[in-house]
Subunit: 284 residues, 6 copies
C-alpha cells in the first residue's frame, strides 16, 4: 500500500481513491533536504510509478512556512560541499575528488529524476519559502500550482554554485521566457507567486496553502477518474516529445498507440458517455 | 486553380489576390472529422503548397457553432477505435492489429502534417467548439487567432486515448507553459479563448468569428503583398529551427540564403521603398 | 583593460567594479550596422569573455532615437545584398556567388555568435527603434529589458529576405509563443515594448532609457557581486541545456560541477553568510 | 497482386511464396534512370510495403551489362540539370530556380526513400556497371550483394555535381570506413566488387549475376519463412537505431515489442521447434 | 571485495591486481539466461563500476560448450514470452498487457545497460555457442575477442521476435558493416569467429578459450597498470561520443579534462617514464 | 599565395596546379607539436579553405622517422600539463584552474578543427612514428594513407590522460570497428600500417613515404581536375551527414544543391565529356 511508503521525513497517504499525497515532513527545518531525503523521495516515486492503486499524485509539504528551503546547508557543509564527504585516510587529488563529486551529483539527480519518470501525473503544490530544491523538484512535476504567499528562488548562485539537480536544465524546457529564466537564475533573487504565474512557471495561484491543496485534489480526482491508459499515455508522450523533434514524437505516439488503442477503456469511455454513466476503468 | 480543390467537406476560395481561404464545411456535424477528411484536407494543403497563385492561407470553418468538434466519434466507433476496421475474415492477433493501427495512425498524421509542411503561411481562425482535432490541426498552422466565444479542449483523454495526431507532440514546441499544457491535456477540460491568449496558444482574440476573419484577412494580405521568397523562406527557417540546435539552424539559414539572397526581390523591395511605390514580386 | 576595446562605433567602459558597458555609438545613422560593425562587436565580446576584470556586461546604444535601426541598407545595397560585393573581373556563376554569400553570412553570424558565447552574462537594454539586427543581437543576450518607447520589428521580410543572423533561429528557443513569433516575423510589423513584455521577449519595461539602464546597472552589480564561478557556470549550463535533451543537460552539469564545486567560493559564500559579511571572490 | 505492379521499365514477379523480385528493365540504356523511373520505383516499393503476400524483396536489373549506369544523362540534360525544366514563358530569377530545384530534388529523393521505408527486407543484387543511382538506391536496401564483375562508381563528381539522392548521406551510416568513402566519392573513381566486399559496402560477392541471384533467393526464402512480425520488427528497429542514440533505440524497441510480443508467432515458433515442424505464420 | 559479489550463476574473482573476472556459471544449461540472471549480472557490474580495487574486467563463461545459448527458452516460455507472467486473477486487456511487457523489457534492459555504463573497461571473451543474449551483452562490452570455435547468432527472429535487449540498437553503432548486420539479424543464421573478425565485430580470434582468456588477461593487466583516471576517462569519452555529434564530443572532453588534467597521474606517468620506473597510481 | 603561409614549423608549397602540400617541419623533434604549432597549423588550413588557387591539400611531414611523435612532452610539461601555465602571482583554486584548462583545451581543439572544416579535401600521408596528435589530426582529414613502416599509437593513456583534441570523439565516427578502437585507445599500444588498413583507419598502404606521397599526388590531381563545386559540395555534404540523421542529411543536400546545380560546371562537365576534352572549371 502507498501509505506504507511513509518514512521519517515523508508522509504518504491516499485520501481519495487512486489519489496519493506525498508530504515533505521536516517543517522544523523548513523542509530542507539532506542527501538521504532526495534518495528517499525518489524511492517513493519509483514505487508509486507502478502502483495500480494510484492514478494521480500530489506533492506538498508540512507546515505553513515553507514548501522547502532547499538543500540543508548545515548538513551539506559537512559533506559534499565542503569536500569533507570525499575525504578518506589519504588526501585525494583533484581528479579523484572530481570523480567522487560527479558520482555524488548523479546520485542526487537520480532521486529527483524518479519524480519525472513516475508514470503517474504529479501535481506539485507549493507554498511559503520555495527555494533551490523546490525548483529542482517542481520542474519534474507535471502541474505546478501554489498559494499566493509563495516566495520562490533559484538560490544556488547565492551559495557559490550552479544548480545541478535539474533547475538549470529543465527550466528552459518548461515553456517560460528565457530572459526571465536568466534573470532569476543569475541573480538568485526572490520572485513571487504572481510573477511565477505571469511567466507561466506555475499554472495556478490560490489564496492559501489549503485552497491550493483543494484545487490540486479536484484536479487529481478528475485525472484519477479518467482512463489510466489514456492519462499515463498522455504524460509519457508529452514528456518524450519535449526532448525530441516533432517527426520523432509523431512516430513514437503511433507506435505507442498501436498497442494502447486496443484497450477496453476506449469502448468503456464511449459507451458510458452514450449511456451517461461514470465509467470504471480497470487497473493499470 | 485553388478553388477547384473544393470538395464535399471543404470549400476553397481565393477572395483576394494570392490569399486562399479553406473552410471546413460540415457544420451539421459540428465540422467533425472522418478519416477521409484528414486525407482530403492534407491533399488541399499539399496542392496549395506549390501553387504560385497562393501566398497566404486562412483556415476557417463553416457555421457559428464550431470550428470542429474533433474526431467524428460515430464514424470512428465503427472503424479504428473499435477495432472493426481491422477485422477481416480471420481474427488477427494483437501484433497484427497493432501493425494495422500504426499504419492507420501514420496515415491520419500524414494528412495533418501537410498543413505544417505547406510552404505558404497558414493562419488558423477558430471559433465556438474547438475540440480534439482542432488542436491537432491548429498547432500545425503558423498563426492561431480566435473569436472570444471559442471553447477549446484537448478532448482525447475523455474518450480513453492519448491524442496521436500531433497535439501532444507539437504543443510542447509552441512556446506555451508546460505546466498548463499538462493541466489541459491530462484533464481534457475546456479552456476559453482568453485563457488560450494568456498562455500564448493563440496570438489574438476577437469579438466574433467575423471580426477574427477580418483580422486574418488583413494579416494574409500583408503577407501576400511581401516578397514570397522572403516570406516562405522565413517560415521554412523558423520551422527548421524549432527542431534543431541553434548551431544547426544558423548553418541552415546560411545555406538557404546563399541562393535566396540572389533574388530580384531584394532589389525590388529596396528600390520601391526608395521610390515609395508598392513592389510587385514575381510568382513563386 | 576593457575600455581599451572602444572603437569608432563602440564605446566600452567600466562604470562599476566588474561591470562593463558596451555602447553602440553611431547615433546619426540610428546605430545601424555595417558588416564591419558586426565583426567589431564580436571582437569586443570575445575579449570580454575571458577578461577577469569583467563579471557582467550591459549592451546599450547611444542617442535617444534608436537602439539600432538594423542593417545599414545603404552600405548593404552596395555590397552583399546587391551582389556587388561578389563581383570580380569575371562574372561568377550562380553556384560561386552562392558560395561567396554563404561565407559572407557565416562571417556575420560569427560576430553575432560571440555575444552568445561570451562567458559573462549580458544584459541588453533597448530603446527607441529596435529593428532587424536589434532582434538578432538581443536574442544572443541573457536578459533583455527595454524602455517603454521601444519599437521592435523583425524587419527583414520588408526588404525581401529572411533574417539570417539568428533571429529566426533563436526566437523559437527563447520561450515565447510560436504563434506570435510567426505573426511578427512573417509580417515584419512593429511591436511595442508592452507587447514584447506580455509575450516574454523582454523581462522588464521601464519608463525611459535612463530608467532601464539604471535597472540594468542594479542587475549587473548584483551579478558582479556573486561568485563568478557560480554565475558563469549557471549561464554555461542554461545555454547548453537549451540545445540538448534533459538527460544530456543533467549529465553535463554533473561533469561541469565535478570541478566547479571544488571552488573556494562555496566556502566563502557560506561563511560570509554565516558571518553576515559581503564575500570577496577571486577573479575568474 | 505484386506482379500487377510491373510497368514499362520495371518487372515485378513473385517467383516463390512471399518473395517478390523487382527487375529494373531498361537494358538497352544500361538501365539508366529517368526522373519518372525514380517515382515509379518508389511507387512499387510503397505498394509492396503493405502487401501481406510479400515478406522479402529482391532488387535486380535486366541484362548482363549493368545494374544501372545511373542517371540518364541525355534526359537529365534536357531537364533539371540544364535548367530547361525550370524554364517557363518568363525567365525566373536565381531564387525561384533554386526553389524549383529543391522541390525537384526532394521529389526524386522521395522515390528513393520508399525503398528504405519499405517495411519488408530488401536484398539488392548488383552486377556489371553500377554507377551513381546504383549507390543511391542500394544504400536504401537492407542487404547488398553482387557478382564479381560489378564495377561501382559514385559518379556524380564526374558530371559536375554532388550526389543528392542519398549516397553522400547514407554511405557514412553503413558502417564502412570514412577514409574510403571520401576517396571514392571525391574522385568518382571505379571500384571493384572485391574492394566493395573488403570495405563492407557489400556483404557477398558471387561468381556471376546468376549465382548472386541464387544466393539472394536463398536468403529471401529464409527470411520469408520466418515470422513476419519478427522480421519486419527487426528491420524497423535497426533502421530506427541508426538515426538515434542507444538510449532512444532501447526505449523504442521496448515500446514496439510491448505490442509485438503479444503475437501468436512466438508461440508458433517455439512449439514448432519443439515439435520439429515448420511453422506457418499468419499474414502481416 | 569483488569476489563477494559471486552468486549462484556468476563467479567473480580477482586473479590479478585490479583485474576482476566475471564468469557466467550455468554450464549445464549452456549458460542460458533467466530474467533474474540479467538483473544479477547488472548488479555485479554496477558494484564493480565504483570499486576502487578494480580497473579492468573480463567477462567469460564456464564450460567448453557455450558462452551463452541466450535466453532460457524454457523459463521464458512460462513467463513473459507466453504472457503467463502477465496473468493475474483477472485477464488484462491488450493495453495493460503491453504496459506490463514494456516495463518487463525495460527491466531486463536495465541489467544489460549496467555492463555498458560500468566505469571500468570490460573485455568480453566468447567461445562456443554465443547466441542471442551473447550479442546483447557483448555489444555492451568495450573489447570483444573470442576463440576460433565460437558460433554466433542473433537468434531472436528464429523464435518469433525482434531482439529487444540491445543487439538491434547497439550493433549499428559498433562500426561494422550495416549490410552484414541486416544479413545476420534478419536470418538468425550462425556466423563464425572468422566472419566476426573480418566484419570487425570481434577484434581478436584465438585458438582456444584458454588462449583467448590469456590474451584478455594480458590486455586487462596492461589497462590495470595504466592511470585509472586516463583509462576510465577514455572509456567515458568514447562512449559519450558515440551518441553525440563531433562538436558535442569535443566540448564534453574539454569540460571533462578540465578536472581530470589536474590529476597527479600525469606527473607520475611523465616522471616514471623519465626515470624508467613503473608508476603506481592512486586508487579511483 | 599559399606558399606564403609557410612558417617556422610548416612548409606550404603548390607543386601542381590547385594542389597544396603542407609539410610539418620539425624533424629533429620528430615533428612533435607545441601549443603554438596547433594554432599555426589551424591558421594555414583556415587560409587555404577559401583560397581559390587550391582545390586539394596534402598533409605530410618532414624527415623519414616520424609523421609526428605527438605532443611535445617537454614543452607541455612546463605548461598546461603541469599546471605551470595556469600559475599566476596568486595560486588559483581548483575551479579556476579548471576554467583555464577548459579554455586551453578548446583553444588547441580550435586549431585542429580548422583541418576538418577546411572546404578543400585533405589527404593525410603518414609515415614512421605517428603518435597521439597524429591521430587527432588525421581523423580530421578526408583521406588517410600511409607508408608500410608507419607505427600508430593513441598515446595519451600512457602519459596519464584521455586524448582531448579529437581522437576519442572522431574515431568512433570514421567507420572503423568500435572493439578495435577501444583496444588501441585503452592500451595506448602501437599498431601497424597493415592493422590500420585492415581496420579501415587508413585506406591505402604504400611501400615508402615517397610512394605514399606519389599516390597522394595522383589523388590530389584527380580531385583538383574535377569541378570544385562538385568536389567541395561532396565534402561538405558527407561531413554534415556524419553528424545528422539521414532525413536531415537529405534535406540539407536538397537545399545545398538548389544553388549548386545552377553552376556552369555541370554543363562544362557534360559537354567536355561529349566532346572528349578536358573541362576547365572556374575558380571557387
Amino acid at each position: 500500500m502507498a501509505s506504507s511508503l511513509s518514512s521519517e521525513f515523508f508522509n504518504v497517504s491516499v485520501p481519495a481513491e487512486y489519489v496519493a499525497v506525498i508530504e515533505i515532513n521536516r517543517p522544523k527545518k523548513l523542509n530542507s533536504f539532506t542527501h538521504e531525503m532526495f534518495t528517499d523521495l525518489g524511492a517513493i516515486f519509483k514505487n508509486l510509478s507502478s502502483d495500480p492503486e494510484v492514478r494521480a499524485i500530489i506533492l506538498t509539504a508540512a507546515g505553513e512556512r515553507a514548501f522547502t528551503a532547499g538543500l540543508d546547508i548545515t548538513a551539506a557543509s559537512q559533506g559534499a560541499l565542503s569536500g569533507e564527504g570525499q575525504k578518506g585516510p589519504v588526501e585525494k587529488d583533484t581528479a579523484r575528488k572530481a570523480w567522487d563529486l560527479r558520482r555524488h551529483i548523479k546520485d542526487l539527480q537520480e532521486g529527483v529524476n524518479y519524480i519525472e519518470s513516475c508514470e503517474k501525473p504529479v501535481i506539485c503544490v507549493m507554498h511559503g519559502i520555495s527555494y533551490g530544491a523546490a525548483v529542482d523538484i517542481s520542474t519534474c512535476c507535471d502541474v505546478r500550482i501554489c498559494s499566493k504567499d509563495t516566495i520562490f528562488s533559484v538560490r544556488e548562485v547565492a551559495i557559490g554554485l550552479a544548480a545541478d539537480l535539474g533547475t538549470l536544465t529543465r527550466l528552459g524546457h518548461t515553456g517560460v521566457p528565457m530572459s526571465w529564466i536568466k534573470d532569476v537564475c543569475l541573480t538568485a533573487r526572490d520572485f513571487s507567486a504572481q510573477e511565477a504565474m505571469t511567466m507561466g512557471f506555475v499554472s495556478g495561484v490560490y489564496d492559501s496553502k489549503a485552497a491550493a491543496l483543494d484545487r490540486a485534489m479536484v484536479l487529481a480526482k478528475d485525472i484519477a477518474a479518467a482512463s489510466p491508459v489514456a492519462v499515463q499515455s498522455t504524460k509519457a508522450v508529452i514528456n518524450y516529445s519535449r526532448d525530441h523533434t516533432v517527426a520523432d514524437g509523431l512516430d513514437y505516439v503511433a507506435v505507442w498507440n498501436a498497442a494502447m488503442l486496443q484497450t477496453q477503456d476506449v469502448k468503456d469511455a464511449l459507451f458510458s458517455k452514450k449511456e451517461k454513466r461514470v465509467p470504471k476503468f480497470a487497473k493499470l
